[in-house]
Symmetry: C2
Subunit: 255 residues, 2 copies
């Protein structure tokens, strides 16, 4: 059966998309069958894999509004073993459109339920705790929380943890934190050291040992529409996301 993992954090710019795209690609390279779902109307996970936002007719918006099924929207990517359900700006209005429905939190969960040919499904969430992120959390087994070692990112953690608890209690009893990932890690600054210490003290073993360093190749690769492994496989960014995927799989095995 597929495991479904959200990559979520309402704080903006902490590396959610970079983690979702490169973790999904790394798992495919390690011979897992993976589906990446772009749940953000910015469509960054979609363009990060080289798919132009206007190149497809049906996408996640049509799934959630009930006018498409998964064959219509799922497409292959440059990495064998990795499929994508894309998104674009049409998704902006979905939260207001779904607000009145009885099952508004469970629409994504019901859609993903029958898809069992994947080992993992990775959901890239938008920078908010609105209905789209709630749908992703309700559909998931667990959540990976990327965070920068900065003050505002640290401040937002308690709100995120509280939201995960609420979703677990009201909609999805199996939901738990898969792990916290420290991104754009800059060894030289005191702020990074202090925030990392706070996070590890508070979340202990939930924090991945693997950290992702600030690495310019990671921010260049989306402009070439490629995950880091196709853009610069020898970069520090590629090494660290491969190490993260291995650490993640080791945790899975011991569950």
């Amino acid at each position: 059966k597929s495991r479904i993992i959200s990559v979520a954090n309402q704080k903006g710019g902490v590396g959610k998309t970079t983690t979702a795209v490169n973790m999904a690609a790394a798992l495919a390279i390690l011979k897992k069958k993976v589906l990446l779902i772009d749940c953000d109307s910015q469509g960054n996970a979609t363009s990060g894999l080289g798919v132009e936002p206007q190149a497809f007719e049906k996408h996640l918006y049509h799934v959630l509004s009930g006018s498409a099924d998964h064959e219509d929207v799922t497409r292959p990517t440059p990495i064998s073993g990795l499929d994508l359900i894309p998104s674009n700006t049409d998704l902006v209005g979905i939260e207001i459109e779904l607000a009145g429905r009885e099952d508004r939190e469970k629409i994504l969960k019901d859609f993903l339920k029958p898809l069992d040919s994947y080992d993992y499904m990775i959901l890239d969430c938008p920078p908010s705790l609105g209905l789209m992120t709630i749908n992703a959390l309700t559909a998931s087994n667990s959540v990976i929380i990327p965070m920068q070692c900065e003050y505002y990112a640290l401040e937002g953690l308690s709100q995120l943890v509280q939201t995960i608890r609420l979703v677990k209690h009201s909609f999805n009893p199996r939901l738990h934190i898969e792990g916290l990932l420290l991104t754009m890690y800059d060894y030289r600054t005191k702020l990074t050291y202090q925030v990392a210490r706070d996070v590890r003290t508070h979340f202990r073993d939930l924090v991945y040992r693997t950290t992702i360093p600030r690495n310019i190749r990671l921010s260049e690769s989306p402009s070439h529409g490629k995950p880091i492994f196709l853009y610069d496989p020898r970069s520090k960014g590629a090494e660290s996301y491969l190490a993260l995927a291995r650490e993640f799989l080791n945790c899975q095995r011991s569950k």
Copy 2:
């Protein structure tokens, strides 16, 4: 009469809050009377000025839901001449609560209309194009767009410009782009050079000559609850935000 300016960009982590807090503080230092309004449920602009999210009973949520007026929510800050209307996580549900109202886009505009004792009102927007950002754009004379010189930030610009056009057409004919601000500017990388060139080619004089360099003191100052001018007035961050405020005032004079 007050000029109202939104600081907006749906791309996360581009420096909206850092710009709103430090630009508002710089204008107050230059003897303007300024009101900063935190329109983001993360409450970063609030804590960036040293106000604890639980330290106030009434805040922006109560204004928008009609249970408070501006005397109840406006508070002084450590910078003389700068007042704040704070926010906290209570604001998360406001978009769904307002979705059904007839005047849902104009609630903030109607609230701000009578407040004319300020020279400038600065609105810090969340990383989305939902109802809260639409309210801010509908209430504003103009919009400052902070952006990092990165691919995903560049990709999001067309969606933001389109949204500004839509709001101008449907709700607020005076709305225009005040300027684009290049933030976390790293002179050493090719990516910064390429994105900055693309932005200046496309937006020409709308791009501020002042750029904000990546400067660790800017990310340290919120953890001390102070704008950069009280934390490290001689830092590159303080210099650049003061230069931005002067460039902004020069543009105002020539309007």
